[in-house]
Every structure is written in structure tokens, then in C-alpha cells.
């Protein structure tokens, strides 16, 4: 591939790092939480003297979780000659963006997006630090299996990530000897899932797994309870957000299950991070992907140090060679495919309006 934008912007006394996140649109809440954590990391790094004797500066581009917007945003970052990218929330927009960065040979650390389609592209520039969808699907399926829930309904929202998770969940449930009694899609822009819930109710599921994002997840949960559908309701990490409890109402949200990498609140040793975050952002709790974003930024800095250069190939190499990087709640090492060699999915449960660690 050609190496357009090969000159990087590390001259002067700043290193420019690109951030690609949805800071507008339906997923803006999570996107902004991630950005906050990255800013916090950068502040700390810079006050500790920066890296390679330079300060880090962030260049933020909004992908709005929209593939076309993401490509333009990605090109914008490339044109600003950033040395690397941290970001990537929605898989649907991260997929095309990662191609742009690959073309420009710019390394990208993906902090949240985790569709299995991402590593399938085999880009040597792309590093994923969230656990992957198949693992997540497995943990959800296993949980259902353990609880004796055999008849499972799966609902996705036709986004790249949700469809992927739904497909893998189906596979895992079936491998566990369970039965998929419904495999449905919704349009996340719509609000009324009445007839879908009626359909579920008539199928009497033991468990329902919704793999989309929290806005629709909350509404669905509410209507799920209203209709009195049987079995428990589980969501994927796209719905891992306090907003889902708000939207559904804490009463309906009780007993909601979530498959996700735990947030900082549950991570031993992250108290400091939570405290700093809250004091910096007016009592706002870190979001579900804040810790991962924080780790991503620190990982990049670590790699820069090890590479001792802002040369892209060297950064890539350093990232690839990451050994036991200690982030908040995770130890990062990469597999052949530049994915986490060990993922960290858990099942959480909402109890009394709060997420708690279930398994």
C-alpha cells in the first residue's frame, strides 16, 4: 500500500494523536465518556513530562457512528498527520475508518469496538484492546446455560456489532445445547416493540439476549417487562451504560443482565482512577469504556517510549511487541491477529438500580 501522509506531525514540541469517537449522535454519551478518560490520561502524561520530550496533543474527530462520516473524519486525521489513533466505538464506523488508517500506515488502537469483523481484515495497523464479540457471546451463552435457560431469544439492531454478537451468541447457545427460539432484528430508531414483545411472550423464552445499543435496549427492556415476557433479559456491552437503567426505569431494570468487560468501579486498584475522574468531571462517573480508553492512550505512550521514535513502522512494531502492559483492570498482550490474547468478559446484574458483578 502507498504511504501517503508519511511525514508525521511530531516536529515541534508536540506529538499529535488522533481520536476517533462518536461525540454526536445516539452514542454520544459513551463517546464523550471515552474522550474524557483519554484527556485525563494525556493530562497526566504531559504533567509527568510527556513522552520523547514532547507533549501529547489530541486531535478529535467525530465519527457519529456513521461509516461515511467516519471515513471523512479519518481522512481529516490523516491529513493532520497524526502519529497514531486511539478510539473506535461503533464497529460499523470503525471498519471503514480502520481501512483509511491502514492505507496511510497509521497505527490505531481500538478501545471499544469489538466486532469480529475488525480483526478479519488482517490490518497490521489495527490493535484491539477490548475483548472480542465471540468471547462476549460465549460468556452470555454460558451464563444462560449455567442457569438452565435453554430456550433463548436473540434480538439485534442490524448494526455491524450487534448483528455480529447476535450471530455468535446463536452459535454459542446452540453449541451449549440450547435452542434459539427467535432471532429477530429491530430498527433502533423506532420506539415501539409491542408486537415483537407479544411474539416473544407467545414463545415463552427462558432468556432473551439483546445485542444492540442502550437507547433501544432501555425501551425494549421496559416493554419486555410491561408485556410480562418470561425469562431473564440480557444485553451486550453496547447497552452497558447507566442510561439503560434510566430509560427502562429502575424497577424494570432490576435483574437486567449485561455481558461486558467490567467498568472501573468493579476493578480492584481502579479506585484512584474513579476518584480522579469524578473530581475532574464534576462527579460524573466513568463510563463503561472509560477505563479501556484510558488504557489505550497509556498503551500508545508506552509504545512510543519503547519505539523511541514517532516512526509509524516502529510504533507498530512496539505495539505488536507489547508484553504484559498493565492497564486498569486488564493486562494487554496481543495475539497474532492483534487482538487481546486474553479477554475479560463478565456478566453483571442490575440490583437496586446499580450494576453489580454477577459472575
Amino acid at each position: 500500500s502507498s504511504k501517503t501522509g508519511s511525514g508525521d506531525n511530531a516536529s515541534g514540541d508536540e506529538i499529535l494523536v488522533g481520536v476517533l469517537l462518536p461525540v454526536t449522535g445516539n452514542n454520544a454519551t459513551d463517546g464523550k465518556d471515552m474522550l474524557n478518560a483519554m484527556k485525563m490520561a494525556v493530562e497526566k502524561i504531559n504533567s509527568d513530562g510527556g513522552v520523547l520530550k514532547k507533549k501529547i496533543k489530541l486531535e478529535v474527530a467525530d465519527d457519529g457512528c456513521d461509516p461515511q462520516m467516519a471515513t471523512t473524519a479519518a481522512n481529516k486525521l490523516v491529513s493532520k498527520k497524526v502519529v497514531a489513533i486511539v478510539g473506535g466505538y461503533c464497529s460499523g464506523s470503525t471498519l471503514p475508518a480502520s481501512g483509511v488508517f491502514h492505507n496511510a500506515n497509521i497505527p490505531m488502537i481500538v478501545a471499544a469496538a469489538n466486532s469480529s469483523e475488525l480483526p478479519k481484515q488482517n490490518y497490521d495497523t489495527l490493535f484491539l484492546i477490548n475483548g472480542l464479540v465471540p468471547d462476549q457471546a460465549q460468556s452470555g451463552a454460558d451464563y444462560f446455560n449455567d442457569k438452565g435457560a435453554k430456550n433463548i431469544a436473540i434480538i439485534h439492531d442490524n448494526s455491524a456489532y450487534a448483528k455480529d454478537l447476535a450471530d455468535f451468541a446463536k452459535k454459542s447457545v446452540e453449541e451449549n445445547g440450547g435452542k434459539i427460539i427467535a432471532f429477530e432484528a429491530i430498527n433502533p430508531e423506532e420506539k415501539d416493540f409491542g408486537s415483537l414483545m407479544t411474539k416473544l411472550k407467545s414463545l415463552k423464552p427462558d432468556g432473551t439476549y439483546f445485542t444492540g445499543y442502550y437507547a433501544a435496549g432501555g425501551l425494549m427492556l421496559k416493554q419486555f417487562k410491561q408485556k410480562g415476557v418470561s425469562g431473564s433479559f440480557m444485553v451486550g456491552d453496547g447497552s452497558y451504560s447507566p442510561d439503560i437503567i434510566d430509560i427502562a426505569g429502575s424497577e424494570a431494570a432490576n435483574d437486567l443482565l449485561v455481558t461486558a468487560t467490567p467498568t472501573a468501579n468493579f476493578i480492584p486498584g481502579a479506585e484512584e482512577f474513579v476518584k480522579n475522574y469524578k473530581s475532574k468531571y464534576k462527579d460524573l462517573s466513568p463510563g463503561p469504556f472509560s477505563a479501556l480508553s484510558y488504557n489505550g492512550m497509556n498503551l500508545l505512550v508506552d509504545a512510543l517510549k519503547r519505539a523511541d521514535s514517532t516512526d509509524k513502522d516502529k510504533i507498530k512494531k512496539a505495539l505488536k511487541e507489547t508484553k504484559a502492559f498493565e492497564g486498569i483492570g486488564q493486562v494487554i498482550e496481543f495475539s497474532d491477529q492483534n487482538t487481546l490474547s486474553q479477554s475479560n468478559f463478565h456478566v453483571m446484574k442490575v440490583v437496586g438500580g446499580e450494576f453489580t458483578l454477577e459472575k
Binding site: 461509516p67 461515511q68 481522512n75 491529513s79 471498519l95 471503514p96 442490524n158 455491524a160 448483528k163 455480529d164
Partner: protein
């Protein structure tokens, strides 16, 4: 006068060819997107501007081109260039499929039917396996010319630039032919056109098909340029944006529509700095532009002669109720 026009056009083309040397990759990308829109708006211009058929689902043809190329190149390993005629044929057929049931419909019913078709195409893309369902198709190979692989921003810029110039030429020539005139007659008064011996059914279908082929061409190139395509790029909003560009520029006016395409893409980019205010400003700007230029920025003029009396010129804006 005419010579002057020719020269300035030539100059414009030369500037467009030199531009990539002067722009950074971001603005080059924006400009590339503008050129995609130039192609798309020319295609839609035939349908809406010339023939007067309101099409709210034009992105569907863009999708047909993109997916045809993507599928043929990834699954069947075709050469890019060979996918183009296939995409064009599919699009023409799609155009005729959309066109046939809509022939008897008045324009607003037409709008909803085309909108419906657009949505159906998008939903099919989301749900079918062959289109890669929700995540779309990625890893679309780069096209090659001989042994040269088109891969850089510049390469695609030039590719789409050439197609844009061609599409402008095609629309210009069709527009100034017997066919183009017939389209305009249909737009102006369908019954009178029919009374003049113009087979409106055949010509409407031809209009749809031609528009569709041009749209699909843009789609094919879009697929290889992005190397990944997803259903979201072919949503109703995309159709609306293309239509927006056509009307904003001036229905039926080739240069107008080019300007419209540029505005619709560049304006939001320029406004990126305004952050949250971006689309609010864009929306207000649309309203203001339409109020001041209701016929579009560079409307088509059908009266060719310079009037002897410079005072004499129609200007309907002065009285608010048409009398």
C-alpha cells in the same frame, strides 16, 4: 461570449486536475466527495430536473452500483472495470422496476414510492448475506490499470473527476437532444407532451434508467475508493442530500447542480468547527438560500435571447400571490 465560456470551462477542468497537488489529504477527500456528488446529482438531475419526477430514493441506485462492484470483486474476483457494465445494467433494470409502477402516479405519490424502493434496497442490503448484511462488504480490492494499482487519494480523485466530467458531458448532450427536450416537455405538461406524440411511458423509463446508470457508476467507484461499504451509506438521508444539492443548485441546470453538490458537501465540512451548531447553521443556511434564490443558485434559463429592453425581465418574486 460562447468562446469565453468554453475557455473558462477548460480552465476549470485544468484547475481541477492541478488541485490535488495543492490540497492536503483531508480537503482532497472532501473534494473527492464533492465529485461523487457531482456525478450523483447529474444523474438525479435527469430524473427530477429534466423529467420532473420527484425521486426520494435515488441512493438506491448508488447502492446497486456499489454492491454490484463490491460483490463481483470480493466474491467473484472480477476486475473492477468489468463490474462497471454489469452494475450499469443492474441499475438500469432497477430503474425500470422503480419506474414501471410509478408511471401513472402524481409527483407526491411518486415520491413515496421511490422512497419505499430506496428503503427496500437498503433493508435488503442489511439482511442479505451476499451483501454482507449489517457490516457490509469490506476488503474490496483496489482497481488496477495494467500493473498500476489505484490506491492513493489522488488516484481516486482523478478517477471520479474523469467520471464527473463524463457525466456532465452525457447529461449536457442528452439534455440538448430530442430526448432531453422530450423529458422537459413531460415535466412541463404531461398531457400536452403526449398530445405532441411523445410516448411518456417510454421516455420516463428512459429517464429513470439513465439516471440510475449514472448513479450506479458513482456507486461502483465509491466501493473501490472506500474499500468498505455498509448499508448506512445508502439511507434515505443520502437520497435527501442528493436531492438537496440538485434543488439548491437549480433544477435542470448543469452548472447549478454542480455548485449545489459542492455546497452540500463543503458547507458542513467548513462548519465542522462550529461543533454542535454545525447542522443548525446548515439548516438555517438552507432556508436563507432558498428564500433568496427560490429557483436555485444558478437556475436554468429557458429564454435564450437577450431582451432589447434591459428593464424587461420576469421576476416573480415581487408579487407574492401568483396572479
Amino acid at each position: 461570449m460562447k468562446k469565453y465560456k468554453k475557455h473558462s470551462l477548460l480552465l476549470l477542468v485544468i484547475v481541477m486536475f492541478i488541485l490535488p497537488l495543492l490540497l492536503d489529504i483531508y480537503w482532497l477527500d472532501v473534494l473527492t466527495l464533492v465529485l461523487f456528488y457531482v456525478v450523483l446529482t447529474q444523474g438525479l438531475n435527469i430524473v427530477v430536473g429534466y423529467t420532473g419526477l420527484l425521486d426520494l430514493g435515488y441512493a438506491a441506485f448508488f447502492a446497486v452500483g456499489a454492491y454490484t462492484t463490491a460483490i463481483l470483486m470480493t466474491t467473484f474476483h472480477w476486475s473492477f472495470w468489468l463490474t462497471l457494465p454489469v452494475a450499469a445494467i443492474f441499475a438500469a433494470v432497477a430503474g425500470i422496476i422503480v419506474g414501471t409502477p410509478t408511471l401513472r402516479l402524481r409527483s407526491d405519490y411518486l415520491a413515496i414510492v421511490t422512497l419505499g424502493f430506496g428503503e427496500i434496497v437498503r433493508i435488503l442490503a442489511i439482511n442479505l448475506d451476499i451483501t454482507g448484511s449489517a457490516s457490509g462488504i469490506y476488503g474490496i480490492p483496489r482497481p488496477t490499470i495494467g500493473s498500476y494499482v489505484l490506491s492513493s487519494q489522488q488516484d481516486f480523485y482523478y478517477l471520479i473527476l474523469i467520471v464527473a466530467i463524463l457525466s456532465v458531458l452525457v447529461v449536457y448532450r442528452l439534455g440538448h437532444s430530442r430526448i432531453g427536450r422530450a423529458w422537459v416537455y413531460i415535466r412541463e405538461d404531461e398531457d400536452a407532451a403526449e398530445a405532441m406524440g411523445i410516448n411518456r411511458i417510454r421516455l420516463k423509463l428512459l429517464s429513470y434508467a439513465t439516471g440510475a446508470v449514472i448513479g450506479s457508476l458513482a456507486g461502483s467507484i465509491f466501493a473501490v475508493k472506500m474499500s468498505a461499504i455498509a448499508p448506512l451509506s445508502f439511507s434515505f438521508l443520502q437520497s435527501v442530500m442528493i436531492l438537496l444539492a440538485v434543488v439548491l443548485g437549480g433544477l435542470g441546470s448543469i452548472p447549478g447542480v454542480v455548485i449545489g453538490a459542492a455546497l452540500v458537501i463543503v458547507l458542513p465540512e467548513v462548519l465542522r468547527g462550529a461543533e454542535d451548531w454545525r447542522y443548525l447553521i446548515f439548516g438555517v443556511a438552507l432556508v436563507i438560500m432558498m428564500i433568496f434564490r427560490p429557483q436555485g443558485i444558478l437556475p436554468k434559463k429557458y429564454e435564450t435571447e437577450d431582451r432589447s429592453d434591459p428593464e424587461e425581465e420576469t421576476n416573480d418574486k415581487n408579487h407574492s400571490i401568483s396572479v
